[in-house]
Symmetry: C2
């Protein structure tokens, strides 16, 4: 099926477009009143596992804020669930893994699984969403990086520093690498199934990459991202967003990815310097800056585009949108990009 | 009083020393069995406010791990307390400000205070510690950066992202700057009193600077750090550690500080490139890496010194030591630096 608004796909293919495409990380989320209604009615993983609900949530921001791409409503922690590791979502607290992985024995005991089968509800949601979008915009599917998934599986919950996860890697490196490889294998199967079900683009989130030193990133994250990117690259453009990993931008440029996401702690100019215009960049508006008055949002957004400009650029936030952003502020961000005149 | 082990002071003065000085952020803390005993007996702020306890805790790591400097056991949140903003320390949870600052009215209502008087117990602890150290090593006093203090005063608790604090700055910038200025004024008085009481070095912690964009850092943090550094510089060497602020290293080099701390997400080589050897650097061993086997700690520590080398360098961690670090691992880190042969 050809896609009407193909700005994102053309940018990922390296083409010059009349204006940059725009979408927002977590755009199908808690700042939308429609989402909040569903949140009151259905627990988190029910929204993820019910294809109709996931579809409804995924298409919401298309109508509400008019973004140039949809990103499937789902969660990176479906991967541990596929590996039979229980993950709960505790309201107001975030993810909880009641029995975190802490030993080589636990890693060895993880089952061999058919990810596409275990996570069939995600593929159902992809197919249902493709129908609902009716070819208007591309659909992005996503997964967490193996390092970031390990963080949750080992730490057992969210954390500022994921000390337990790092302790596991640094005191039991062999077990850590075995776990990373298992996550990688399952993630590749999962993402290939998402491709087959109809995702046009895949984004990889390395949300906790920025906790590692450049040297440790090279051992504990990059090789696994490389395997995933290589497995998907022949069929689908891949965007890699590794938060806080400015120091690895140069190395990430060498991966078979079609764009690199950057957060707001790096200037567009610096990001271009590290990546030398070899790959499109995506980002990097500080989500908290969407709380500024609208005229300031408009001014900062235009400045951001100019600083990244002129091409090879996907406008986005530097991380997920916050729950307390007024919808008209999000819309102001999107509309400023859409009205940008090269 | 002249100080026997003056490696840190000479390094801060720009002199070449036989080996780099070494100390560890949070060295007087939860990884020490002696500290844990006191922690069981006395609540957090009692340990801070009782000069005898603060002294006992401050000198502990001198005997236990043999560092080249003492850093006063205290807390950055004594500043809001001086401003009559209640701060509790909730065991297992961290700081809590029951009535966080959210409005211009609340900022305006903060009292004019004599910080040295309000925080007299800190000066008592400094004097008591100076006596206890008997001129063996220098004593470091510290404060949080105004931006970091604002984060806690506005957010009301610890956070990964301090969204409320940023929301306050970006939606009420005038009130935010008034608050930052009030914190700055009190901090300057407080640190001058600490100088007068006997601190040989002052370290400023900008723990949450890395949450800001380079542009916002230039507005919400740097100007206030500059005021503090300028006020203290004539009398005491200042070390500035701004976690996650690699992007501001070049600008920080222009401040009247005698050293800049860096975390482990920047390579020593990059940190030298940004600062051009104009100022001594301090850091940057990943605290979680102290969980590696001892031979690996020794190897990585030697590599770190070589990479920062050869002079203008203070060996330290890239952030505070973790509670679960075995004391002999901390000792291995310190001893490796002390036995380093240029």
């Amino acid at each position: 099926m050809s896609i009407k608004n193909d700005l994102l796909l053309r940018t990922l293919a390296g083409e010059k477009t009349a204006r940059p495409p725009v979408w927002m990380m977590r755009q199908a989320g808690r700042y939308l009143p429609g989402f909040m209604k569903l949140k009151e009615k259905y627990p988190f993983f029910e929204r993820v596992q019910n294809p109709e609900l996931a579809t409804e949530i995924t298409v919401m921001p298309l109508k509400e804020v008019g973004v140039d791409a949809a990103i499937l409503f789902s969660d990176i922690l479906v991967i541990p669930q596929a590996l039979e590791v229980e993950v709960q979502m505790v309201p107001g607290k975030g993810p909880l893994v009641p029995q975190p992985i802490r030993s080589a024995e636990q890693v060895a005991a993880l089952p061999e699984v058919d990810a596409a089968d275990r996570l069939h509800y995600v593929m159902d949601a992809v197919r249902s969403t493709v129908k609902a979008i009716e070819g208007e915009v591309p659909l992005i599917g996503f997964a967490g990086s193996p390092w970031t998934i390990l963080c949750y599986m080992v730490e057992g919950q969210g954390s500022k520093t994921f000390d337990q996860a790092k302790a596991f890697c640094f005191s039991q490196p062999q077990a850590a690498h075995q776990l990373l490889q298992k996550i990688t294998d399952v993630t590749i199967d999962y993402l290939k199934a998402k491709q087959a079900a109809g995702c046009d683009v895949i984004q990889l989130f390395d949300s906790w990459g920025g906790l590692l030193s450049p040297e440790d990133y090279r051992h504990y994250s990059l090789p696994y991202l490389k395997q995933i990117a290589e497995a998907l690259a022949p069929n689908t453009p891949v965007i890699l967003f590794a938060k806080g990993c400015w120091y690895a931008l140069e190395e990430m440029t060498a991966l078979p990815v079609k764009a690199l996401g950057v957060d707001w702690t790096i200037t567009p100019q610096m990001a271009r310097e590290f990546t030398q215009f070899q790959v499109p960049l995506q980002g990097n508006f500080d989500p908290a800056r969407l709380l500024s008055p609208i005229p300031e949002i408009e001014k900062m957004t235009r400045q951001m585009i100019q600083d990244f400009g002129p091409y090879k650029y996907i406008a986005n936030l530097g991380h997920g949108i916050l729950p307390n952003i007024p919808v008209d502020h999000a819309r102001a961000f999107v509309n400023t990009v859409k009205s940008f005149d090269r």
